[in-house]
Amino acid sequence: MSLVELRSVAATYRRAGRDFVALREVELAIEAGEKVGVVGGSGSGKTTLARLMLGLLKPSAGDVRFQGRSIIGLPERRRGWLRASASMVFQDPNSSLNPRLRLRHIIAEPLLSPAVRNRSDVPEPGQSVLAAAMAGVGLDVDLLDRFPHQLSGGQRQRAAIARSLINDPALLVADEPVSALDVSVRAQVLNLLSDEVSQRGLALVLVSHDLAVVGRLCDRVIVIEHGLIVEQGPVGQVLTNPTHPYTEALVEATLSL
């Protein structure tokens, strides 16, 4: 049984009065502990794919299964198991962290949903749990009482990572986790993600248009163009010897120093 399975998944949405096809006929399986990069340009459907895996979006056709169970049409009260096992880190920590909450409440949030609370193995978010979560991402424990706007961009993204890991998930989906960060802190956040994912044996789905980042963190890469998977394979092979013209264009457009 794969950790995540997408079977003949399609997704459409309406914008400006027109229907757009974000994904079509996507077949995909992600195994426990696997590190998969999803690359493509803006509008390729890569973010849609990430959101489908967490049940944040509903496909217009097909099935999405997590740990062997379909997550389509699951009512809110039965989502606790999914929330406890899969987390997401978003691109922009400015908008993904609630500006009115202190860090201690933001980070504990995944432990506080009623459905998750019902799981006996989830610890109450006491000071020691929060302090450990902060230490794990290299944040000073004194920052627990700060609000997001009192932190730097790098600190905010570390806090978002602490929140995503506090429920000890089996899957972490990261959507462009470093592209809004200064180059000067990007490397540190990448090191942190890489260490946490390896140590915890998490499955990682990393959505990015930055091939260097994907090459650094992932073992397998999936290339999406206009909602279709056009190429996939081991990261070293796809990024050095792309076979699809779209992948070639992405590789060629990637700037390096």
Partner: protein, 275 residues
């Protein structure tokens, strides 16, 4: 002759450490200078100072000479004329830089009209001509669209057209490709490279690899100061300031074996403790 001479420019907001601290650089009429730095380094404040777009409470000292004319202390009325004519800016976020309630063609038309003062019919021609020059394939359809109906790349192209339609002598680009994916970024950088020929350009970015695509010369800003400036290839090959060395090393993600941690700027340079 230099078209832009910035000498000992200092910008303060209140009593804090200056946001820009006594920086100097010059730009020839067809030169391009990249200004690189992280957020808070003073790079954007520098470009806003040149454009005369700083908030009123900013205290500016030193000199910004453009085409022989002093801009520090220039009245807003004069500045407005300058911005419509000889100096313009390409912003990072075209969605906020464009007016969402106005069709793209009308917004561009205002710039065309301002510069040429022509009759109505020829304004439309000017708009379509400019949209074509920035590589928009269906100029008439795009001109009649609202900004939200365009893709990110089309919006940035439209913004480049608006910045250039007044045929400015100096263009300030502030992170013009940061919000774009790599494919569109490549297209916009190529477009800028062509369209900025025969003009002077200041190109502000946090990304040295992006600046290198457009600018032969770079100034590195840190904590309001320029810590080094010169030929970009030489600086990449032999950075003199440890901060620059850190920026370069941390950007070379693809060169570090996966079992080794990535170097970060902090491994090379630690900021002095705040007093």
């Amino acid at each position: 002759m230099n078209i832009l001479e910035v000498t000992d420019l200092t910008v303060r907001f209140g009593r804090n450490r200056p946001a820009v601290d006594s920086i100097s650089f010059t730009l020839g009429a067809h030169d391009r200078l990249g200004i690189i730095g992280q957020s808070g380094s003073g790079k954007s404040v520098t470009s806003l100072a040149i454009m005369g777009l700083l908030p009123e409470h900013a205290q500016v000292s030193g000199s910004i000479r453009f085409d022989g004319r002093e801009l520090v202390g220039l009245p807003e009325r004069e500045y407005r004329k300058l911005r419509g004519d000889a100096v313009s800016m390409v912003f990072q976020e075209p969605m906020t830089a464009l007016d969402p309630t106005m069709r793209v063609g009308r917004q561009l038309g205002e710039v065309v009209a301002l510069h040429h003062g022509e009759r109505r019919g020829s304004i439309r021609d000017g708009v379509l001509d400019w949209l074509g020059r920035v590589g928009i394939t269906e100029p008439a359809r795009i001109a009649d669209s609202y900004p939200h109906e365009l893709s990110g790349g089309q919006r940035q192209r439209a913004l480049v057209a608006m910045a250039l339609a007044n045929e400015p002598a100096l263009v300030l680009c502030d992170e013009p490709t940061t919000a774009l994916d790599v494919l569109v970024q490549r297209q916009i950088l190529r477009l800028l490279d062509v369209q900025l020929r025969d003009r002077a350009t200041v190109f502000v970015s946090h990304d040295l690899a992006v600046v290198r695509e457009v600018c032969p010369r770079v100034a590195v800003m840190l904590e309001g100061r320029i810590v080094e400036q010169g030929d970009i290839e030489q600086i990449i090959a032999e950075p003199r300031h440890p901060y620059t060395a850190g920026l370069i090393a941390s950007a070379r993600i693809d060169r570090v074996p996966r079992d080794q941690p990535l170097p970060s700027v902090a491994d090379f340079y630690t900021p002095a403790e705040e007093a």
